[in-house]
Point group: C2
Chain length 757, copies 2
């Protein structure tokens, strides 16, 4: 636990409170001690592993120091070991990366197959085998043949009356939805509470240094994967994308433990970043998007060695995509999930008007979705619903299923809906639930808008219930409905007024297609995603890897751009940042912070409120040991007189002085110690503890602008900064202070942070 | 000029030496002074603009401080101005960005048209108008018609004998090449020496803080654009991509001066980064690749507000691509330059073997190209060629043209060659110089390999001559030749042994196409680019925006990955980093630096070697002014007794004390001054200069690991760090020291740095 914790407690955050316990560490590695030339017993400080408690923040400076020591140790090996040890170590890491890539690719593919089967089960079953899904059941037919092997439930049970058919189908539809979602909720609530929700806010926090190992456990992995399949198949308004990232990170964590990969917390995070890229790569079939997601959304810019991190993410993404393509869950051998087809190669200038409109809609509805979702989360947390998570899931699933059954575009799986909305009408391909009926344009527009609005409400509620749930796919679906509606409207206008001035770039013959409503659906999806996630580059890449609409990258970029602009006007944070704030994870937004002329002195804890080691007292070893073990902090500034000597970690002291204390007990002469080199040199009776002082201590002045302090925390991944003036300690600022400074303005900040988890 | 300069001079660098001049600044803004409540005259330190000299390095810390002050000033305005001023200011910036986007799009398009015309002129002319290029001349014909309007020179002058025809054509081909390249060289040498080469190394250095405004001047813009068209049309082995980035940056710089955009050096760099993205966007028709190029290669990660920078790059890229598409130089309304066509949708596992081979070739030949190019540059610099740049260009153009005329694939423009190598053979499209002749497979393989090898030699020499020259297109051409050769070889093998075990995923009928040699050319180009530039993500994006081969992104990623691995084994730096080292620009490689246990004390300039202001002497204003104006440094640490008070910039002192000195002269009483608040408080006769001390001063200890110091320079964009212990100044480290630390190991470091420019 670090000084960051209890001292700076400002909210009611559970995370920060539990972080306040004291800890002590056993010395289990006798070899870590060595006799130095001057006869003193010396423990190499780098062999003392700080065991971070759950909920604390890792010390990147310290971690990098450890890595440095470790590299040096490898370097100082002799002979063949000097050559082999680094290769062995790095190949071990690469093996984990490759295994994670393959693993998440295969898991992702099998989840797709499982979801397809479970989802189809709600409609009917295959007569020649229960375990076939509709596509597998009907495969091998010539085009034009009617599939007789697949039977809806009413066909299967041979119900003749239309009323009976409807009731049977509806019953299966709703009951199975409840069964799927309910079992997912039971699994999550009882066995792995961390498996709920998307997981991306937590991954973001973990990557930035938050210690939250339980979030990556084996049960979480298993139940998140299984629960995800059940939740998606239940027809709730949720997607599999975010949870797959979480699953990939769990796999990386468990594999590295299984293979006994010795790694520091910093290296662990670099591995997790690569795994997260692989997760996105599989979720969207978008290897490049995965790497960029890692860079942009997970902010792996700030890692000490970003090109290395990017490189690993790149490899993991490629391998995961290859594994997915090899398993080939859709039987198409393609990575592109929602192929855009039949779109005319060029676009007309007047189309920018409806696209702008869609971008604005995306920004507005995206912000609305974020705000609704946060409001629902806070309401759920404060109301009776908090105590009945399973009942909430079952109840809401029943409502979703019942409402969805009424509207055809809501009834089908979101992914199927999106795939069809993205495609142009083509007589050869057949109609899709009347979408291509040219006489029913107004009905379709109405239905699409209705679907979008209902889905906004459903998604706001679903994203945060006790089941695994991603936000990407529902957002795409909402956007695609809106986009297709606007596209149909534009097309209708153009066909009605083919001679209007604005349409004069279209061929005058109204029967020739000029406008591609399918591409409008892509634009709508881009705009909506821009509004909800506020991502830019990685979103565009994901979108065109997803749709294959490379030639139309410009309109996609423009719509993402405009919707982000509009959305930012309603609040700068995307949905993940809002959830991080809701749960008050110690995560620093990478955003620009502007002080209004304040300096660091506005936020530092002054020296009077700090627990420091007063070195001039020349503690006995006994006293020092008691002081450290009884105190709750992770480390202490050491001062002598008024001079700041440095910063020392509590666990280093404990480990270093333990054998000396044992000697003392035998010789019955309590020795005194000092952290000052000068004092130790002038008085040889004093034990010199100056080797324990943190070598990488950073000092600033109080007068430094607040903005610079924030920037240093953001860029250097620090945990604390000491402030001094003329060699005197004047105060301390911790990461927690900065997180609070940057997130306090958000509505609902910390609203969920004392939730039971 | 900063302390970084003369003190730390280690090489013979011209850049660092010229950086050592002293400077003084006139006070031309009387309003910057205000009367403070205590009656003293006060100049707001933020109004003192440091005018960086060419060749120095900007102080990002200082720059950000200025931006802070400026934002605060805007914030403290009253009434309607408070509302309007920030909007007006940011819209001014956006106007520049949009204008740059439009400008570079239009310029890029017109350059394409000009190059096409000049290039065609070497073959013949249009009979019904001198200013038509071949495509424009022959447009309007029905397919199958023979174009009679376009005449080769021998047709035009009605030469009948075959020998006469050959001689006439060859003469025009060589003479016009020499005329084009020679005039480009004359223009560059006499009017804009900075317009030579690619410009990307310089842009990288400028973006990281190097002050080099002459590099962005109006003449450079004009001559780089014109010279580029001439150089490309001359048929030398060079491309237009890098120089277009330079042209875009010149445009941004000149536009911001033309529109009197008030911006700090830091803001200027953010604008330049956006312009560079737009340049790449236009060069490759790759808006997304442009943004990523900015992030990866130009390292705009490290800017204080990277999301803002990325966003501007995004907008500039999109607008530039739109402008390009609007002008539509190729008459195709497409952004994709080298459309891959006819490639089979899926690839077979065995194809990984030839692709791996290509990736290894790319890594090896890429490294070879870098090393050859550096060796040629050093040779040119040290030999007699240095004094005859124009003669060198003319001579080498003659050799290039003569050799190229002999080999058909060398004779055509590189871009035409690449476009054809990327396409599958298709009887409907016709043959391309015999490339699709199935009976001439071995001849074609030989010719392609010959072309690649000759191009490697030509490119190594050309890239560095006194003409604008990019490295991307020649590299793509080399890789495409190698790739097509390997593809033809694989296809030949498969057709000869269709029943071999390895080919059993191909249809057994050897007449059905199984292997797409055109796609092998893409793989070869990717591998070669990976080997030469060592870019990863941005390269992949550029490549598939360039080729449209989205479905084949995985093999492209793999080849870039492997060729980078192989290339890194021969040396970690890409060609741009090598050129930066050759010219010793003050640029910090973003690469990871590992010390071997050294601490900062190994590289700091100790306090005995520093020029410091000894405050306890309590200088008269006169003395201080003399000290500052006679000294050559940009700033000074201020100490009193042994205590470090802070750091002060020389120009701030000069500007602040000038009016006080004037008073002194009138009153004839020389006053004394101090930088210590305490001293000023205890002795009211002393003038308090403590407001001038740099507020954002960062202090470290000597014992801090070297690695951490390097990281701080890389991440925080610092110019210097002060080292202190117990409040006493112990030394100083500057950016120059760190650059030297990171680049000294490179071969040829600083080999060109004392070149006349």
């Amino acid at each position: 636990m670090s000084q960051d914790s209890a001292e700076t407690l400002r909210g009611e955050s559970q995370w920060l409170k539990t972080a306040g316990d004291g800890t002590s560490y056993p010395i289990d590695d006798v070899e870590a001690f060595e006799l130095r030339p001057d006869g003193s017993l010396f423990q190499n400080p780098s062999t003392i592993q700080p065991s971070y408690k759950e909920g604390s923040t890792i010390d990147w400076f310290w971690e990098e120091g450890t890595e440095r020591e470790h590299k040096r140790a490898l370097h100082s090996l002799r002979g063949i070991r000097k050559l082999l040890a680094p290769i062995l170590e790095s190949s071990w890491t690469w093996i984990v990366i490759i295994l994670v890539g393959v693993g998440i690719g295969v898991v992702g593919a099998w989840l797709d197959i499982l979801v397809k089967w479970l989802g189809d089960l709600r409609e009917g079953r295959c007569t020649h085998g229960f375990l076939y899904n509709q596509v597998a059941c009907c495969s091998g037919l010539d085009p034009g043949d009617i599939c007789t092997e697949w039977a809806t439930w009413s066909e299967y049970y041979n119900v003749k009356s239309i009323l009976g058919q409807s009731i049977l189908q509806l019953t299966f539809y709703i009951v199975l939805a409840i069964a799927f979602a309910g079992s997912a909720a039971v699994l999550v609530t009882h066995y792995a509470p961390y498996a709920f929700h998307t997981g991306i806010p937590e991954i973001k926090a973990i990557l930035s240094g938050f210690v939250f190992d339980r979030f990556l456990g084996a049960w979480t992995l298993l139940i998140k994967a299984l629960g995800l399949a059940l939740a998606v198949a239940s027809g709730l308004s949720l997607g599999k994308e975010g949870p797959l990232v979480h699953v990939a990170c769990c796999m990386a964590y468990l594999l590295s433990r299984l293979l006994r990969l010795k790694q520091s917390e910093a290296q662990k995070r670099k591995l997790l970043a690569a795994a997260a890229s692989a997760g996105v790569s599989v979720a969207f079939g978008s290897p490049l998007g995965g790497v960029l997601f890692g860079l942009e959304e997970l902010d792996t810019f700030s890692f000490s060695n970003e090109s290395d991190v990017m490189w690993r993410g790149f490899v993991a993404s490629v391998i995961a995509a290859m594994a997915l393509q090899y398993v080939d869950p859709f039987g198409t051998a393609k990575l592109v999930l929602f192929q855009v087809s039949g779109v005319s190669a060029t676009w007309k200038a007047f189309e920018l008007i409806p696209w702008m409109f869609l971008a604005i809609l995306g920004g507005v509805f995206g912000s609305l979705l974020i705000k609704l979702n946060a409001a629902v989360a806070v309401y759920r947390h404060r109301s009776f619903l908090r105590d009945y998570p399973i009942a909430e899931v079952i109840g809401f699933t029943a409502i979703t299923a019942a409402v969805s059954y009424l509207v055809v575009f809501l009834r089908v799986q979101s992914s199927e809906l999106v795939a069809n909305l993205f495609q142009e009408c083509d007589p050869a391909r057949g109609d899709y639930h009347g979408l291509c009926n040219p006489t029913a344009v107004w009905e379709n527009i109405f239905l699409l808008i209705l679907t979008a609005l209902v889905k906004i409400i459903f998604t706001s509620w679903t994203f945060g219930m006790m089941i695994p749930a991603g936000i990407f796919l529902p957002t795409i679906a909402i956007g695609a409905c809106l986009g297709r509606a606007v596209g149909l409207l534009t097309e209708g206008l153009q066909r009605t007024y083919p001679k209007a001035l604005i349409f004069n770039s279209c061929p005058p013959d109204a029967t020739v297609r000029c406008i591609s409503p399918g591409f409008y659906a892509v634009i709508g999806a881009s705009a909506m995603l821009g509004g909800v996630t506020r991502m830019t580059i990685s979103l565009v890449v994901i979108l065109f890897e997803l749709t294959g609409a490379l030639s139309h990258v410009l309109p996609i970029m423009i719509s993402v751009m405009v919707s982000k602009w509009i959305g930012d006007a309603f609040g700068k944070d995307g949905i993940y940042a809002v959830w991080i704030a809701l749960r008050q994870y110690p995560w620093l937004p990478p955003s620009d912070f502007r002080d209004n002329g304040q300096s660091a002195s506005q936020i530092i804890k002054s020296v009077d409120n700090l627990v420091v080691i007063q070195d001039e007292r020349e503690f006995t070893l006994q006293e020092l040991d008691q002081f450290v073990t009884s105190s709750t902090f992770h480390g202490y500034p050491v001062v002598r007189g008024e001079q700041l000597l440095g910063y020392v970690a509590g666990d280093k002291i404990t480990a270093y002085i333990a054998p000396l204390l044992a000697d003392d007990r035998i010789s019955q002469t309590p020795r005194r110690c000092t952290f000052s080199k000068e004092a130790a040199a002038s008085n040889s009776d004093l034990i010199n503890l100056s080797v324990l002082l943190d070598e990488a201590v950073l000092q600033l002045r109080k007068e430094i602008p607040l903005e610079v302090v924030v920037q240093m925390f953001q860029k250097m991944n620090l945990r604390h900064i000491l402030f001094s003036h003329g060699g005197k300690l004047t105060g301390l600022v911790t990461k927690t202070d900065i997180v609070w400074l940057l997130t306090a303005h958000l509505p609902h900040t910390a609203a969920l942070s004392n939730e039971e988890r």
